[in-house]
Amino acid sequence: MVWEIGLPLRFPVNLSEHPTDSELAEQCKRGNLRAYERLYDLHSARMKSLAFHLVGNRADAEDTVQEAFLKVYRAVGSFAGASSLSTWIFRILINCCYDSLRKQKRLAEKPASRELPSDPKLPLKVGLQRALEKLNERQRLVFLMFEVEGLKHSEIAAILEVPEGTSRSWLFEAKRELKRMLTESST
């Protein structure tokens, strides 16, 4: 593909219709906001949902997504491309979510209330949502990324920087724990 070399760096240059991850990374490094918009189009739905489950409400979830983009923009110069840009942005998002949770804890004496579904027609959905809250951090993360957001084990492994087998094993542990909690709560 041909980049419009010579244009001011922050002037939106054309992106190919389906830019590769490295093309996007290159354009992000050059401060091309179209590249960031493409990243947003590609990942924001899953980023928002994952953040929602981690921080507990939509407003904070949107804030963390915004924060993640800002961090990507500021740090993209040091992005070496060892993982893919999408992997990297999710890793940054997860860190932003934990920062946000720490902030919530600092600001409030009681834990922030979480937006939980209350659909009486879907007792399993409600039960699952509540049980998820009780999982340990790594199990919850892997369950959310694999089952809820549909990421692959290879992607999760890259985001969490663990072997793929570990991602599989954490998902198995998560489901076993959820099954145990759901069985106990129904008896």
């Binding site: 760096l9 993209v76 570990t166 198995f172």
Partner: protein, 219 residues
């Protein structure tokens, strides 16, 4: 092996056991319920994806990024081809000067290995020396794991304990991941990513075994 109700979870982790599990499911209502719940956890999980409109989110992000200074590595001279052309000429010159020495170096054994595996030019591959170090570490891990496995054996053999069953399943999963990674490594023993993955799996297994033993001491 006779498949029992307690084997269902193991079958969910190790797909080779599923045919036997399916036979058992035909006759056991209890396990059928468990299996249905297992699948429902995944299908219901997908419904937990939270979707909502955020028309202001991208405009806000855009505004915020516009207010930022340029990304640090977006070199101002990136687009200036003249500098690149000069740099290329200098590099080619240096390359030509060093070429005879490099050719000489390629004939040494280390260089041969580095050459055939991508070696020094490619950090995704290990040199022979680094590989020997990695293999020594791996052997140390395996010795430690063997020792820990022996110590943990009595605790794991307790068929009545749910905790022991859970740990056994986890160890099975890890063993199967270790076997996969090792067989991949047989074809590509210089691959750094696979070696790192294998080391991580050994570390995880070692930690799991230590966890079993310390839990034993606490209880």
């Amino acid at each position: 092996m006779k498949f029992e109700c307690g084997d269902l979870e193991r079958a969910l982790a190790v797909s080779e056991l599923m045919p036997e599990a399916r036979e058992h499911l035909k006759q056991c209502a209890n396990c059928r319920r468990e299996y249905r719940l297992w699948n429902e956890i995944s299908s219901t999980g997908r419904q937990l994806h939270e979707d909502w409109d955020s028309p202001a989110l991208w405009p806000n992000i855009r505004k915020m990024l516009e207010a930022e200074p340029k990304p640090k590595s977006a070199f101002v001279w990136w687009g200036e081809w003249k500098i690149w052309a000069v740099a290329a000429v200098v590099l080619i010159g240096v390359g030509l000067l060093l070429l005879p020495r490099l050719q000489q170096a390629v004939t040494t054994p280390e260089a041969k290995i580095a050459h055939t595996t991508g070696g020094a030019q490619d950090q995704d591959f290990l040199t022979e020396q680094a590989l020997a170090d990695v293999q020594r570490t791996e052997a140390a891990y395996r010795r430690s794991i063997d020792k820990l496995s022996q110590l943990a054996q009595p605790k794991l053999a307790d068929r009545g304990s749910a905790v022991a069953a859970n740990y056994k399943e986890k160890l099975l999963l890890l063993d199967s991941a270790i076997a996969d990674t090792r067989s991949n490594l047989d074809h590509n023993r210089f691959n750094v990513r696979l070696q790192t993955e294998l080391a991580d799996l050994y570390r995880e297994k070692q930690q799991t075994l230590q966890e079993i033993l310390t839990r034993d001491q606490k209880n």
